[in-house]
Structure formats: structure tokens, C-alpha cells
Amino acid sequence: MTVYIIRRLLYTVPIVVGVLLLTFFLFSVVGGDISQQIAGKNADAETIAEIRHEYGFDKPLFWSLDSQFIDHFRKALTFNFGRALDREKISDKILRGVGPSLSLTVPMFLGTLVLSISLALMVAFVRGSWLDVAAVVLCVAGMSIPYLSFIIYGQYIFAYKLGLFPIMYMPEESLLTSLALPVLIGIAAGLGGNLRFYRTIVLDEMRSDYVRTAFAKGLSTSKVLFKHVLKNALIPIITSVVLSIPYLFLGSLLLERFFGIPGLGSLMIEAIASRDFFIINAMTFIFSLLIVVFTLLTDICYAWADPRIKLE
């Protein structure tokens, strides 16, 4: 196992280098010099030249120890991403956004996961009944409704009309109060797809011989469902769950924007809109690292969940 982990960690090196090469090509070679944009409409040529110098756009692209290429790698590998277009440190921006983003996405993720797996077990058990059909219909309906509609109607009905929640994130109130509605909306919007996915997985297991054997032996329904079926369905669940975790760090773009939550989703939208390649670069790099780490964790979890899998 240890050897496997070390080998997998070593694999991350070419992946990270590949990501860095790609981002450099996209943002520095193709994207190019954005000093004019930083300087604004009224700046004179001298100020633009200073900004070009400050952000290193006047350095050679490749063939120098002080090139933009080396700089790109140095910044990423030291996690010192420099300053954004608005001249704030990128690391400060990211650190500030992680908390609100995770406060939103973690409960949303856990809520969706627990509800959808529990409901999937339930409806799979009563498959073919009116309850199962109703659940499938509702799931398809939920998947068909655009995410934005959940947000707009949720905000209008529960916050504005019924007054149960603040309309937007209110710094003067607790994080819990402000985030409750977006979390619930996120759970509601994500439930349809997840429930269908897990239902399919559970149904595959329910049709297995060992389930019939377990019932024949007289085991209780809950024991069969939670001990046997759920355990055997864990592999696809782990794949889906662990690989979703890196996305939690990206926040939720739409929810954050509509509820004014100062998370990383907002940061990314803002960076894309303002062509702030420095932020996009940093976020892409961090995200790629998370993907690599969590892919490794997924493999380790496979071995834990299924003794037949050996990591060599």
C-alpha cells in the first residue's frame, strides 16, 4: 500500500507540470499582456509600462532565468501567487473565500448525500410501487428544472414571501442563518439526479443473489439494506462522493452570486469576468492538486471498501 501511495504521489509530478504548462500557454502565451486592462481607460503609456513591469509582462516568455515561464512555476510551487488585478494578494482572497464556500457546499453535499442514499434505499426496496414511480417522476422533474429556477423561486417564496430566511447573506447575522436557505435550495436542486443515480446502483445490488439469500435467512429489511446492500454498493458511491469533494472547494457559482456569499465561486466568476488570469491560474492549480489528491484517496477507499481490490 505504501509503495502504491508513493508511486501515485510521484505520478502527480507530471500531472502538475502538465497543468502548469497548459495554464502558462493559455494565460501567458495566448492570453498575453493585460497591463492595459489593469491600467484602466485613462492611464497614459508610462503608467501602462510601469504596470507591465510590476506584473512581469515585460519579462521574456521563456529563454531566461527570470522569464515569465520560470516565474509561473515558482509562484505555483511556492503557493505565492502574487497579487490580483485589483492588487490584493491572491492567497488572501482564496483564504477568505474558502470558509464561506465550504460552509455552503459541505452541508449541501452531506445533506444531498445522506438524503439521496437513504431515499434511494427506500425506493429501491419498494421498486415498482407507486412510491417508487412517484420518486422517479419527481427526480426527473427536479433534474429538468434549471438550477437557476430553484434559486429564484426559493429566494422569492421562502425569503421574500414567507420571510423565513434573509434574502441575502447578512454579515451581521450568524453564518448559519444566512446559509440555511442556499443550503436547502442546493440540496433540493441536487436531490433528483443523485437519488436516481443511487437508486440505480442500489437496484443493481437488490437483484443480486446474496440479497435473496439474506432475506431467505430471515434477516431484517434494515439489516439487509444497510449492512449488505449499501456496503456492496459502496464502490460507485465512493467514486462519486470522493471525486466530488474537490468541487466543494470551488464553491457554488450561482448560489454564491444570488445570495451574496463571498466564497470562491464568486471569486472565480469575478476573475473570469475581469480576465484576472492570475486568480484563474492559482485556482486552476489548486484545483488540479485537489483532484490528484482525491483521486488517490478514491483508490485507497476502494481497497478499504472491497477486500478483493489490492493496491500494488
Binding site: 434574502i167 454579515p171 440555511a180
Partner: protein
Amino acid sequence: MKKRTVQIRPAAMVLLVLAVCLPAGCRRRPDSSASERMVIRVPMFSKIQTLDCGNLTDVYSIGVASQIYESLYEYHYLKRPVELVPLLAEDMPDISEDHLTYTIRIRKGIFYHDDPCFPDGKGREVKAADFVFALKRIANVKYMSQRWTDWNGRIVGLDEFREYTKGFRRESDVDYSVEVEGLRALDDYTLQLKLTKPWPQLIWYLASAVTAPVPREAVDYYGKDIMYHPVGTGPFRLKVWERGFYIELVRNEKWHGGTYPTEGEPSDWENGYLEDAGKPLPFADAIVYRVIEEFQPAWLMFLRGDLDIMQIFKDNFAQAVNPDTLTATPAMAERDIRLLVFDDPSVFWIGFHMQDPVLGRNKPLRKAISRAIDRQAAIRLFFNGVHKVAYGYLPPGLEEYDPNIVHTDYAKYDPAEARALLQEAQQIHGGPIPPLTIAIPGTSNLDRQIGQFLQKYLADVGLQLRVDYMDWPTYLDGLNKGKLQIFFSGASPSIPDSLDMLMAFCSWNWGYGGNHFHYSNPEFDALYRQAEPMFPGPERTRLCRQMERIMLEDCPAVFLNHRVAIAIIHGWYKNAKPHEFSYNTAKYRRIDLEKRNRYKELLKELKKKPK
């Protein structure tokens, strides 16, 4: 035991999540409107970039910074046409006979906000040297101020100081004690500015937060992070800035004071703008700015009474505005919500590159394009019919605006004449006009609709138009480097001075200087030179109008519309007289707390009312 745990885990987790979410969600939030603290709550639809006064450019940053910083002069809140009055200056400047030397006495007893940058945390008194430092800082090339262009070539010795700063690596390395002949503190309370040539607009710049005094201590203490730590003298100081979404300013208890104006326009009495005449300022205890980038939550917050003022968007126009009278709809009126409608001095246009081989030497072609576009239709379609047709360039609200311009035919929509002009244009060109290309900055639906609109109207007269939808940096780069054949653009003057706008057509300002049309007319240039040193008056107005007519005849652009701004406010938001150029207006605003506290009850009553 272990088995049992496995059984209950999913259910327990569901309960846990619900337990976390529901009590929080179902708890009613404390009714902040019932507070006795007078807090003004304003939405902002864009994030502010900086609160460092020497580098303020966007209106949102200026809007917030102007409550924190104060400059030498300010706009009289109520008088129109706009008028300046002293703020940190003792009185209006003494100007030498040759109009080259300004001597300004500074008020004594003005103190900066308390801040850790000062030795004992207590704000010190403002000195004339602080104004000198602030301007030198803008000139420091290492500081990279976007406001240097305002000062370039204006003050004796300041350009040399800028040259001197080029030799340093960092902003902080520059020695600010180096003398600048035209920028001196004669003593602690006297500032002297010497100009290279008469510059009548200077006084307007001295009324901007950009020229506010800056304590050297703050610059040294905060370094580059001074953008988040404004240290000013204004009636409000920064308490919280959760970057990107929330700003709270609180009353500066050490403010030097001021009173609400006692005179204004005749209509100010009937509009209630003089009810607080002579009362001490500021009225509010705090101002909260919420950055809300989506329309829906801002509108819902406004309707629920969580915001005091809102801007009208296309989506809520029908709900809020009666388009025939430009007043609030009955549904808004019964909530005691009303509109503020005012001319925003701005102009939007389709500009031509005058050195373009197709367009530059073909005036009939440019005129044909002008005749082909129905400006009224554009205003109806894109601006709810509210904006005004731009018959000329200078917008209403400026002293030099020519009211007779509406009787000219520069903005005439006449497809038949456009076709005739096109015939003429083809003869000049020596054949059919090739497809033209317009650059539009933006890729939103509205941008695309505008592009399609222009394509349709030009196609109607036989011209093909290609539209390049560009992101802002690409567009700006193309504009400055003269790479755009036709471009969609607009401008709002930052100071109430037409010469500032007309500068965009001077031949020495091509490209980065602002003349993106690459327009050149010696007669226009000569008139500009003649008007440049003049102070506002009939002769200067005449020259400006003459310049405008010369330029309109040459048709370097098709001027489309002047914006009419509409804001929507709650009845409790008092003294909200719009000002086209002033930003430090929060100190005049007052909240009728009793009315605001009653609003929730009013909403309940309205719900019960039969429809």
C-alpha cells in the same frame, strides 16, 4: 452494539443536517429596520476596487471614498447649475492675474480619522504639506496612479518630479521632500499651485476625492495595502470592508462639522429638500453598502425595505415606472415608494476611425450611416423609451449644452436620404462599399441585441455591417491603437466642463489621449486652444458650441442618446436630491426612522387589502 450503529447512521445524519439547517432557517431574522440607529443601506452592483484616494477611477469606489475623504472644495448640494464651495479650504482660491498661480488657505483644526498609522492612534491635524504629498504621489510613476493624465503637463515642475521618480525601484523609495516649484506648502495652512498654462478646470479637480490630503504616515504604515485602509477627514470612517460584498462606514465623531445648506433652487422647498436647512451634518450614524450583483435579490430586498434606494433595471421597469409620466406605479406609490428621474450628463455613440481608408475620406458614407439609424427606436427598445436622443455631442446638464441643437438634423432618421448619400459615397469610393466592421465591448444579450439592431438598420439602406463582440481589454487595446474601424462607445464627464469632453476630438490626443476617432480638424484645434485658458462665460460657451458644430459637420461619430437616470427610493429616504457630479452626498441624507419602522406594518396591511 456496532451493528445497531450502522443501522441508525443514515437516519441520524439526515436528522443532523435538518437540525443544523432548519432552526437557523426558520428563525426570523432580527428586524433591523426597527432600530433607532440611522443606517443608510445602499446597494452596489459592482465591487469597489480601491479606497486609496490617489487611484480612484470607478464610480463605485469614488462613491464610497468620497464619504471618507474630503477635498479642498465641494459642490453645493442644492444649487443648480452646479457651484463649488470651500470644504477643507478656508475660502475660494486667490488666483493671480495671469491665472497661473493659485493660493489656497487651508482650514485650521481639521483632523484625520483616528488610525493605528499615527503614533498614538489619534488622527493628527491636516497640513498644507499633506496636499502637496498627495499630488506628488499621483505624479510618482511607481505609484502607478491612473489619475496622472489629469495632471500631466499642468503644474510647474511636477512632470520633472515624475521623471525623477522613474529612477527608483519602488514607490516607497522616492524622496517626497524633493521640491516641486509649482506645488508648495507656503506654511502649514497655505498651499500654492503654479500652473504651466491657465487651467480653469483645476478648481473642479480640487473638488474630487482624488485630490484629498493623504497623511504620509498612512502610506508608510500600510504600504500597498493602503487601498484597504483609507485615512481621511470626512464625516464617515471605514468600519468594515468585507471585500467584494459588504462595506460599513460609521460616523466620524471627530468630524469638523458642517450644516445642511439653507438655500438652493426654488423648487427645493416644495420637494422637501430644504426641510433640514441649517441642521448639523451628518444625519446618519452609518452607511452600509451591499454589493449585489444579481438583480432579483436586490429588488426583493428593496421591496422588503432592506434597502433604501435602488436603481431601475429593464426587468423591473414595468413594475416600478409609469412610462408615460415617469412616475412610480400605483403599486409602488401605495408603499410610499417614489422615483428620482434626472438627466445624467452622458452621451453614447458609434465612432468612426477617421483614418480608415473606407470611412475616413467619405463623409457621405458616414452621414448615410447617421441617417440610417433610428435613435428613437433604439431608445424605445433598449432604454424603455426614457433616454433622450443625442442631437449633438455635449449632454444636457453642462453649461455649454446648446438647447438649439434639437432643431438641427444631425440625428435625423431618414432612410431615403441615407440611400441617396450612399450612392454618393459609392462614387467617392469607386464602387460598392465593402462590409464594415463595428466593435462592441461586451458579449451580453444586450450587446448582441444592439449589434443586431445596427446590422438591421444599415442593411435597410444597403450597407453590410459585421459585428465584433469583444471583451473589454481587447476592445480597449484596439481603441487606443486605432485598430477599430467603427466602435460603440460612450462618455460621462467627470467634471462639469465641456472642454474636458471636447478634448476627445483634438488632433494631439489621438489614441491613448482619448481621441479614438483619430479625428483632426485644424479649425477645431484652433478654437480649442482659444477656449482652453478661458474661465466659464458666454464667450467660452460660444466657442464650445462652435467646436461641437464643426465636429458634427465632419461626422466622426453617430451620436445616439443621452442617458436619463431613474432611481427608486422609499419615502423614508430624505434629502435625496440627485447631483450629477457630487459624490460626498451621504452626509446630507436622512432616514425617517419612524416611517421606516412602520414599513413592515404597512406591508402587512397591504397584504390584507382586497385586490
